[in-house]
Assembly symmetry: C2
Homo-oligomer: 318 residues x 2
């Protein structure tokens, strides 16, 4: 970062888990704020953030944290927004930008907006970046690099504030995209919420079987099952809240998924090899496109075996 | 490998894709055979195997390949076993071990056994190791390391032959487990076949949506969806054959999965946060166990970001 004036004078991070602590790290690295104020609910997490040196000031009082901040970012489970918004609203500075990292956007707008004074620029956001881990230790400063960040400002939001927030995310390494909250919630229902729900479900089904032991599931998991366990190891509070907050879009995607699965099940029952072959062929192209778009590693097995990656380059040479 | 006599005099590999070529590589490295004979259907794949130097002799005639071999390994899609068994059976040497790498075992026994002369030891096998890639270039010599290999000999099989084959897989780096074919097919239905079917299905559902564009699915796939695309990029012929060959066990697992998903869907519809939280908590433990069992990498995001792995160790130090 250059020695010019930072983009924001004081950033208040409310919530300092995976997302909040990754933000703290990249804000520091890029010099995006004159001061980083960190606030979280528990003294334990706050102490950990302090030990990691993530901010300049630490407080368990969110109202205190937001005072005189020109950027406030909520990085807490979406079910916790309404009470937190009620707590901080009276203390938000005039012209401040309030944004968030929550995985749903319709619910966030309806939970936060009623509490806000008119002089605050509320611009909901969602970085499409994360891992299955949680807490301040799990964050890292490159989390947002080469990822997308979606902003869903409501009509009438101050353009200058939106541009400034977009510059912030660009400086974090992301590409900013704008869409309305309802579309965001439909898109995320298919690319993120349904995958997590399906992963949780299949791991639950395997866990319940009587005819196959748990130790067998674990031993032979490399044949496919383990891929699902990563998403199914994600934070339960975060995902409970997402399911409750984006119910309608999730139910729609679940309906389509189940319908398609019933058709696939029928093809298996009636030994319709052509239908199976057609589906299994059509789905290959999407992975190629994801790799080409730079959203996935180009190595077998997610690059789990570094020795194959070597084989890959040897292959390309030969 | 020591300079002692190799375990087998002549190994015939029928099929030289991901599995066959990985076998060729590890057999060579460990000196497990005096001669490696490679056979595959197409001249194109045979030429590629030759160019990669995978064997000592190459033939597109499977009958010719098995002559005087004391170990024959079929590494071809399970739907192709019956005709191939019919072709090679008259040419199998007395006392030879015939085995395979196929992902289903009940079907393999019923497709192969009727063709076999009594003087051959048929011992079905299944290495629980693979990637989503296919063909002779995709193989690598460490594929079977730290993985399990399941053998499903039928009652009455020669013990000495079974022990010898087990020694072979141990030398390839695997741990050998014995079970009956029906149990194998139920275990694999949940740990491998259902995960692949679900992955193919969700990618198909996403591909069909009108309200979310394909480019949006690709752009935002890092939020969960991309994890499924790896399995859904697996070979369509292999997976069509697996679905047809292990129909009953797969239909049973699909039934349970759908039942559980209906209950989960109901919890979402009726905002039963406690039920969601309970399921999402219970599923976390399984991933921990898989990592502890050495069947998964211990890094966020499957180790996709090497820079987090570094962060991990820094965290452990601090
Ligand atoms: N994880 C991802 O992959 C990902 C990706 C994109 C967006 N998001 C979204 O980002 C947000 C944060 O996720 P995260 O992964 O960073 O979570 P996390 O690592 O679990 O951290 C959660 C933070 O929220 C606080 N918190 C939890 N419950 C709270 C409550 N009821 N009231 C006030 N604060 C509470 C925690 O405080 P204490 O520890 O002090 O209790 C902690 O500081 C969520 O809305 C999530 O949907 C997550
Ligand atoms: N991939 C995995 O992750 C994995 C893991 C464990 C077990 N397996 C099992 O291992 C076996 C081989 O899988 P793979 O991944 O190595 O497959 P692959 O890379 O696609 O190679 C398939 C091989 O089988 C040959 N083949 C295909 N169709 C055939 C037919 N109709 N008749 C005769 N030969 C045919 C191919 O010959 P040409 O190229 O000459 O046509 C090629 O040599 C399958 O039974 C599979 O279920 C796979």
């Amino acid at each position: 970062m250059s020695s010019s004036k930072p983009l924001f004078e004081r950033v208040a991070l409310i919530g300092i888990g995976l997302i909040g602590s990754s933000l703290a790290r990249v804000i520091r690295r890029e010099g995006l704020a004159g001061e980083i104020v960190i606030s979280t609910r528990s003294s334990q997490t706050l102490d950990r953030a302090r030990a990691l040196g993530l901010g300049d000031r630490y407080t368990s009082d969110a109202a205190d944290a937001v005072r005189d901040a020109d950027l406030i970012i909520l990085s807490i489970p979406v079910g916790a927004y309404a009470p937190v918004a009620a707590t901080i609203s009276p203390h938000l500075a005039k012209g401040a930008i309030l944004t968030d990292a929550g995985s749903t956007k319709g619910s966030v707008i309806s939970d936060v907006t009623p509490h806000l004074p008119r002089h605050v620029n509320f611009i909901p956001g969602h970085p499409i970046a994360g891992t299955e881990q949680s807490g301040p230790d799990a964050g890292f400063d490159s989390l947002f690099e080469n990822r997308w960040c979606i902003l869903t400002p409501v009509p009438g939001t101050d353009e200058v504030a939106v541009k400034k927030l977009a510059r912030f995310w660009t400086a974090c390494g992301s590409t900013v995209e704008m869409m309305d909250a309802a579309h965001h919630d439909r898109v995320l229902a298919i690319v993120s919420h349904l995958p997590h729900i399906i992963a949780y479900n299949i791991v639950g089904t395997a866990d319940d079987l009587e005819s196959v032991s748990k130790s067998e599931v674990i031993k032979y998991s490399a044949s496919g099952f383990r891929d699902f366990t990563r998403l199914a190891a994600s934070d339960p509070v975060m995902w409970r809240d997402v399911c409750l907050a984006n119910r309608d879009a999730i139910l729609e995607m679940l309906g389509r998924f189940s319908e398609d699965l019933a058709a696939l099940q029928r093809s298996i029952r009636w030994s319709d090899g052509d239908a199976l072959f057609d589906l299994f062929t059509r789905t290959r192209a999407i992975r190629r496109s994801i790799i080409e778009a730079g959203q996935e590693v180009d190595a077998p097995d997610f690059g789990r075996h570094p020795e194959i990656a070597k084989g890959e380059s040897a292959k390309n040479e030969g």
